[in-house]
């Protein structure tokens, strides 16, 4: 397991670093990050990705990982017997791991299908089942609030604190009945939600950054889970696709929101 931060100060610094890095990224990355790694298997190069989507992804910093690579992701990356679950693209000269945006794009589509399936199946029961989405991270709160607002009352956002017992203790006021899926932004930060989903045997969808572990996660979306723009983009794309899949809109153009609506309004602290 990675030696991930426990004290708030260190965490704040990391978040700011990442946010700062995004600022740098927009100017420099164009050349810096698109260069393919030589050792990559050839199939990686032939996989086409729509240029507009690619630019949207790169400009949000969704691919920017951390300097830590968790054991599980490292194993999969090193034994590339299957490219479909290798989330790592390369390591930069600064030692930063970069996520493979093709995998991010694929997983966003798969996650949208999965969420849509839970929503549709949930409707057929007497009491509609619920999806709980949790983020205690600073820049995750607004995206998940918006996601829940757009998808309706059966998607419940827990954006301040995940009250212990919410999924496991029916005697508590905070208890949420009939939960079919738990969505989290960060397995470390949202560890209470993850732990309770495990005990309550509820499937878990999580964003996975390079330093995150896959423990108790049933579907992973490789993505920067600290950056403001990255988180806004993830939940904008997910909400739009889910609405289309459940038939509430018939095309992406009908989606009445933009990326900024899903972004945190908190101004990042810039350091000298």
């Amino acid at each position: 397991m990675s030696e991930k931060k426990d004290d708030g100060l260190k965490e704040d610094f990391e978040e700011d670093f990442k946010e700062d890095f995004e600022e740098i990224e927009e100017e420099e990355v164009e050349e810096e990050f698109i260069i393919p790694v030589e050792e990559k298997p050839e199939e990686e190069e032939v996989e086409e990705m729509d240029e507009e989507i690619k630019q949207m992804f790169l400009s949000s910093g969704i691919h920017i990982g951390t300097k830590i690579l968790s054991g599980k992701l490292r194993n999969i990356h090193l034994n590339h017997f299957s490219a479909s679950n290798d989330f790592i693209y390369r390591q930069t000269n600064y030692g930063l791991y970069v996520l493979n945006i093709r995998r991010t794009e694929e997983r966003l589509h798969i996650a949208a299908k999965w969420i849509a399936k839970f929503i549709e199946e949930g409707k057929t029961h007497d009491e509609s089942s619920k999806i709980v989405i949790s983020s205690v991270r600073r820049y995750g709160k607004e995206p998940i609030r918006k996601f829940s607002e757009v998808l309706g009352k059966n998607v419940i956002a827990r954006d301040i604190r995940f009250v212990p017992g919410s999924l496991t203790n029916p005697n508590m006021e905070a208890y949420i009945r009939n939960v079919s899926l738990v969505i989290i932004v960060d397995p470390h930060a949202d560890k209470q939600a993850l732990k309770e989903a495990k005990i309550a045997r509820i499937p878990v969808l999580s964003l996975i950054d390079t330093d995150d572990d896959l423990a108790n996660v049933d579907l992973a979306i490789p993505a920067n889970n600290r950056g403001k723009k990255a988180l806004g983009l993830v939940f904008f794309l997910l909400a739009r696709e889910v609405l289309r899949l459940i038939g509430q809109i018939s095309s992406d153009e009908e989606f009445p929101y933009n990326r900024e609506d899903f972004e945190s309004k908190i101004v990042p602290i810039m350091r000298e």
Partner: protein
């Protein structure tokens, strides 16, 4: 009683463990089961219908 099999390791799942099951995220047609151990270890599962490799 039919015991479900873990989609990661193939072991029979007991009713006493914190196993999980869900529709395959990709095709939605197959129920994936993960035993407590495999889920905790983040072990990969494969869908028998569409070959989706999770998590």
């Amino acid at each position: 009683m039919i015991m479900e099999q873990c989609s990661c390791c193939g072991r029979k799942i007991t009713p006493y463990e914190n196993a999980v099951h869900f529709p395959c995220p990709n095709c939605g047609d197959v129920t994936i089961w993960r035993c407590e151990k495999c889920r905790e270890a983040g072990n990969s599962y494969t869908c028998i219908k569409c070959d989706f490799l999770g998590p």
